[in-house]
C-alpha cells in the first residue's frame, strides 16, 4: 500500500470521458433556447475547452502538486488550507447531488416503492468500497465501463434511427434565438455543468505515471466527449421536439420510451438506467474521492481514515432537499451561481499567482533567496 498510486494515460482518457458523460445526457441542457440548445451547448463546450487549457496550464506549472498543495503554496498556509477545506466541501456537495439524483431516478424508474434512503445508502456504500480500495482501482473501472456505456448509447441511437424516430426537422429553425441569448444560456450555466467540472482533475493529474501533464490526451478526450454530448442533445431534441423535451423531467427516458413497439423488449428503460447508474456512480465516486483526497492532504491523515466520515457527510446531506423538485431547483439555481467561483475564479487566481511568481523570478532573481 505504500507504493505511490499511479494512473496510466489510457486511464486518464477513459476517466475524463466517462466522468464528462456522467449524468449529462439525462438532462436537457440549455432547454431555455429550445431547439438551439445544441448550439448553446457547443458554446459551453468551447468555453470549457478554454477552461481546460487553463487548468492544464496551472497543473503544468505546479508539477507533482494537487489542488490542495497549490492552494497552500500560493495563498499561504492558513488561507490556502481554508480554501482547500471549502473545496472539499464543494466536492462533497457535488457528490451528494449525484447521490440524490440516483436515488430519485431509481424511485422514478426501477423501484417506486423502495425508500430512497435505502437505495442512496447502497450507492454511497459502493463508492465507499471503491475508494477504500484506492485510486488505482477506481481508475480501472472506466476501462470496462466506458466501452459498455458507449455501446449502450450506440444501441439506443441505432434503434432510434431504424425506427425512424429521429426527425432532424425538429431542430429547425436554427438560430431562432439570438447569439446573445445563446451565450447567456451557455455562460456560465452550461459551462459549470458539465464542462467546468473538469476542475476535479486538478486533484488527479498529478498521479499520472509519466512526467508532465497529459495535455494532448485530456484535450482529445474532452473534445471527443463534448461532441458526443452535443450529439446526444441533438438526438434528444430531434426525437422529442423542443416542447416535450423542455417539460419532461428526464428527457432521455422519454426518448427511449418511444421505442415501445420493438417486439422483443417493451421498454428499454433498463438500458438507460444502467447507463445513468454507471455515469452517476463514476461521477459521484470521483467527487467523493477528491473530497477524501483533499481532506487527507490538509490533515495529513491517511485517505482510508477519512473515507467513512466523508461518506457519512455525503449520505446525510443528500436528504437536505425536501423533494426532487427542490433538489433540481437548487441545482439549477444557487448551485450554478456558486460553481463559477470554484471552477473559474479560483483557477484564474492561481494562474495569476503563478504568472506573478514567474515574472518576479525572471526579472529579479537576485531578490529571491
Amino acid at each position: 500500500m505504500q507504493k505511490k498510486e499511479r494512473i496510466s494515460t489510457l486511464q486518464v482518457i477513459f476517466m475524463t470521458m466517462l466522468f464528462e458523460i456522467g449524468s449529462t445526457p439525462l438532462f436537457l441542457i440549455g432547454g431555455t433556447v429550445k431547439q438551439d440548445s445544441w448550439l448553446a451547448m457547443s458554446i459551453g463546450a468551447a468555453a470549457g475547452f478554454l477552461l481546460l487549457l487553463l487548468l492544464l496550464w496551472i497543473q503544468k506549472h505546479s508539477s507533482g502538486q494537487n489542488l490542495m498543495n497549490m492552494l497552500t503554496a500560493h495563498f499561504g498556509r492558513f488561507s490556502g488550507s481554508l480554501l482547500g477545506g471549502i473545496y472539499c466541501l464543494y466536492f462533497a456537495y457535488q457528490s451528494m447531488r449525484n447521490v440524490r439524483d440516483l436515488g430519485e431516478l431509481t424511485a422514478m424508474t426501477l423501484l417506486p416503492r423502495t425508500p430512497v434512503s435505502l437505495t442512496m445508502l447502497l450507492f454511497v456504500l459502493i463508492a465507499l468500497y471503491a475508494i477504500w480500495k484506492g485510486t488505482e482501482v477506481i481508475f480501472r473501472l472506466p476501462e470496462i465501463l466506458l466501452p459498455l456505456v458507449l455501446f449502450f448509447y450506440g444501441v439506443i441511437v441505432l434503434l432510434l434511427g431504424i425506427m425512424g424516430a429521429i426527425d432532424l426537422g425538429r431542430l429547425l429553425p436554427v438560430f431562432e434565438s439570438s447569439p446573445g441569448m445563446l451565450v447567456q444560456t451557455a455562460l456560465p450555466d452550461i459551462l459549470s455543468f458539465p464542462f467546468g467540472q473538469m476542475i476535479v482533475f486538478l486533484m488527479l493529474w498529478s498521479l499520472w505515471d509519466k512526467p508532465g501533464v497529459p495535455y494532448k490526451q485530456s484535450l482529445v478526450a474532452y473534445a471527443l466527449i463534448s461532441l458526443f454530448l452535443i450529439f446526444m442533445n441533438i438526438v434528444n431534441m430531434a426525437v422529442l421536439g423542443p416542447t416535450i423535451a423542455g417539460i419532461s423531467q428526464l428527457p432521455l427516458l422519454k426518448v427511449v420510451r418511444t421505442l415501445s413497439n420493438l417486439k422483443f423488449i417493451e421498454r428499454l428503460d433498463i438500458l438507460v438506467t444502467i447507463q445513468l447508474f454507471i455515469g452517476l456512480l463514476i461521477k459521484m465516486m470521483l467527487f467523493f474521492l477528491c473530497a477524501v483526497k483533499g481532506i487527507s492532504v490538509l490533515t495529513g491523515k491517511r485517505e482510508q481514515w477519512w473515507v467513512f466520515p466523508v461518506g457519512a457527510v455525503i449520505y446525510g446531506t443528500s436528504f437536505l432537499a425536501r423533494n426532487y423538485t427542490e433538489h433540481i431547483a437548487i441545482g439549477l439555481g444557487p448551485s450554478l451561481k456558486i460553481d463559477p467561483l470554484f471552477q473559474v475564479a479560483v483557477p484564474l487566481l492561481l494562474a495569476f499567482s503563478i504568472l506573478l511568481r514567474r515574472t518576479n523570478k525572471r526579472s529579479s532573481p537576485q531578490k529571491r533567496t
Partner: protein, 532 residues
C-alpha cells in the same frame, strides 16, 4: 522449515517437541539397522537383508529397501547381484573405507547413487524408493535409486476434453508430468525446481517455467510462498493452491489448474509459472487473470474465426449463468412492464397455479439442480440412467404438471445450468454458482437496481484483486490495447507476434514479423499471365 518430530503423537510433552537434530549414523552396522527398524516400527513392507562378501569385507553388509516402492528386478540385477556375486581380487588389509569406495565407484551399475550421513536423510531416500547399502564401520551409507512402483498409464484427460488436440493427460506421477512437459518444450530454458512439501507426506512439488520469459518477480514470490508452507500433508494441488493464492476472501480463483500437458506448456510459453504436484494429475498455472479462465487450449487448435466466436459464447454463458435466474426474478416481481404484453400474459398464466413467489420457486429449482449435479458426480456408474430418468422426467416434467413450478422457471434453470458448463474452467464456473444465489436473493429484494449494484461491487472487487502482483482484470483494466488480441477474440496465430505478457516481466517477441501467409510475389505474375 519447522520440523515436527515424526511418528510422535501429539501427547508428547511440549519442551522436547522442538526441532530434533538430525541423528548421525553410528559406526556399528547393527546399531544403525536397529535404529532404522525402530523408527519405521518394523513395518512388514520393509526388507532388511544382511550379507557378506568375503572378498570385500570380513564384516557383514546390509541392504534395506521398501517392497513395492522399488523395482525388484532392478534391485536384483543392479544391487544384489553385483555386490554379492562379484569376487574382488583380494586386497590385503582392506579397510571399511576402501570397501565403501570400491562399491560406490565400481560395483553399482546404476544411474543415481547418493550418500547419506544421517538417519533422516536415509529414511527420506528409502521412502523415495532407494535401496540403502549400509557398511559396518562406516558413518556414511550408500543409496541406489531403484524406484519403480505401480502407476497408472497415461490416459485421456477426463475433465478437460477436446475434439481436436492432444489426447494425453497428466498422471499422478510427478516424473511423468515433467517428462511430458520436456517433450513439448525442448529448450534449455525450461527450468524444473523441485520442492518437498508436507511434514508427513513429503510431496514432491515441481516448479516449472521458462527462464527469461517467466517474470522474475512472480517467481520470487511463488518460491517465497512455497517455502513458507508449513503443513502436515499435500495430497492434491488444491492444497498448494489454497496456501499460495492471493486474496483469501474472494470467490474468484487466481490460479488455474489443468490436466492437460499442452495447456500447461501453452501457459508456460506465455510467461506463466507451472506447478506440478506428485500424486495428482492436476497441475497449477499462476499468475492467472480473469480472462485466462475463458481460454481453452482448443482455441488454438481450431480456426481463429470459430475460436473467437466460441470465446464470445463463453463470456455470454458466464453472464447468463450468473444473472439469468436473478433477472427472471427481478423482471417478474418488480419490472413486469419491461416485457412485451403477450409474453407477460403467457408468463402470468403459467404462474397462476404456482403456490410460491418467484424467488422461492427459483431457489427450489436451483437447489434441486445442484443436488442432482452432486448426485451425478458421486453415484456409481451403473445407476446413472436411473438418476437421469428421475432427474429429467420426474423432477422436471412432473413438477410442472403438478403445478409446483412454472414451465418458464424450468427453462430458466436448465439454461442456466447448461451455460455453466460452457465455461472451460471448472474453477470459475464453480465460483459463479455461489454468486448466482446471492444475485437471486438481491434481485428478489431490490430488483434490477440490486443486480446492478452487486455487479458493480463485484467489478470493484475484481479490479482490486491481484494474482501474484498481476491485476486480475489485466489486460483490460489496466488496459494494454496491444495485448487484447487474445482476450475477447482470438486473432490468427500469425498476427500474435508479441507474447501477451502481463504487466510484470519483459515483453518478448514470439514469432517473426511478417508471418501472414501470402502467395510469393514472383509466383503471382506468371499466374496472372496464364489466365486468359
Amino acid at each position: 522449515m519447522n520440523k515436527k518430530s515424526s511418528a510422535q503423537g501429539p501427547g508428547q510433552d511440549a519442551p522436547t517437541h522442538s526441532v530434533p537434530a538430525p541423528q548421525p549414523l553410528s559406526v556399528s552396522l547393527e546399531a544403525n539397522v536397529q535404529e532404522i527398524s525402530k523408527r519405521i516400527g518394523e513395518s512388514s513392507d520393509v526388507v532388511f537383508r544382511h550379507f557378506t562378501n568375503e572378498s570385500l569385507s570380513s564384516s557383514p553388509l546390509a541392504f534395506i529397501y521398501i517392497d513395492g516402492l522399488v523395482n525388484s528386478e532392478m534391485v536384483n540385477q543392479t544391487v544384489l547381484q553385483p555386490l554379492m556375486e562379484t569376487v574382488v581380487p583380494k586386497i590385503p588389509d582392506i579397510t571399511a573405507t576402501d570397501a565403501y569406495n570400491l562399491v560406490k565407484d565400481q560395483m553399482l551399475p546404476i544411474g543415481s547413487v547418493k550418500e547419506g550421513k544421517t538417519l533422516e536423510s536415509l529414511l527420506g531416500m528409502l521412502f523415495d524408493g532407494y535401496t540403502l547399502i549400509l557398511f559396518n564401520g562406516m558413518t556414511t551409507a550408500l543409496a541406489a535409486d531403484t524406484a519403480g512402483w505401480e502407476k497408472r498409464s497415461i490416459n485421456e484427460p477426463t475433465s478437460q476434453g477436446v475434439i481436436r488436440g492432444p489426447k494425453e493427460g497428466f498422471t499422478e506421477n510427478l516424473r511423468t508430468g515433467t517428462a511430458m512437459l520436456r517433450r513439448r518444450l525442448k529448450t534449455s530454458d525450461l527450468r524444473i525446481e523441485e520442492y518437498k512439501i508436507g511434514e508427513r507426506t513429503q510431496t514432491g512439488v515441481a516448479l516449472v517455467y521458462l527462464e527469461g520469459i517467466a517474470s522474475a518477480e512472480v517467481l520470487k514470490e511463488i518460491r517465497r510462498r512455497l517455502n513458507a508452507i508449513q503443513t502436515d500433508s499435500i495430497l492434491e494441488s488444491n492444497y498448494i493452491e489454497e496456501f499460495i493464492q492471493d486474496g483469501g476472501l474472494t470467490p474468484f480463483p487466481t490460479i488455474q489448474n489443468t490436466e492437460r500437458p499442452d495447456a500447461l506448456a501453452g501457459g508456460i510459453l506465455e510467461g506463466q509459472v507451472g506447478i506440478i504436484i506428485d500424486g495428482t494429475p492436476f497441475a497449477l498455472l499462476a499468475p492467472s487473470t480473469f480472462f485466462n479462465f475463458f481460454q481453452s487450449s482448443e482455441d488454438y487448435y481450431q480456426r481463429y474465426d470459430i475460436s473467437s466466436f466460441l470465446r464470445l459464447i463463453r463470456y455470454s454463458a458466464f453472464f447468463v449463468s450468473m444473472l439469468l435466474p436473478a433477472l427472471y426474478i427481478a423482471v417478474t416481481t418488480f419490472h413486469q412492464e419491461m416485457l412485451p404484453t403477450t409474453l407477460l400474459v403467457s408468463l402470468a398464466a403459467q404462474r397462476e397455479g404456482v403456490p410460491f413467489p418467484a424467488l422461492a420457486e427459483a431457489l427450489l429449482m436451483e437447489l434441486t439442480f445442484d443436488v442432482l449435479r452432486e448426485a451425478g458426480v458421486r453415484m456409481p456408474r451403473t445407476i446413472g440412467p436411473a438418476i437421469s430418468i428421475v432427474g429429467a422426467l420426474v423432477l422436471g416434467q412432473s413438477a410442472v404438471q403438478a403445478g409446483l413450478v412454472s414451465a418458464a422457471m424450468v427453462i430458466v434453470v436448465s439454461f442456466t445450468a447448461i451455460s455453466n458448463f460452457v465455461i472451460p474452467s471448472l474453477a470459475i464456473a464453480n465460483s459463479i454458482r455461489l454468486i448466482r444465489f446471492i444475485m437471486m436473493l438481491i434481485a428478489a429484494t431490490l430488483g434490477l437496481f440490486g443486480i446492478m449494484s452487486f455487479l458493480m461491487v463485484l467489478l470493484i472487487h475484481m479490479a482490486g484483486l491481484r494474482s501474484f502482483g498481476v491485476p486480475y482484470l489485466s489486460p483490460v483494466a489496466p488496459m494494454t490495447p496491444r495485448y487484447l488480441k487474445d482476450i475477447f477474440i482470438r486473432v490468427p496465430l500469425w498476427d500474435m507476434t508479441i507474447r501477451p505478457k502481463t504487466n510484470l516481466g519483459k515483453e518478448t517477441r514470439r514469432q517473426g514479423k511478417h508471418q501472414k501467409p501470402e502467395p510469393a510475389k514472383k509466383l503471382q505474375k506468371p499466374e496472372g499471365e496464364n489466365t486468359p
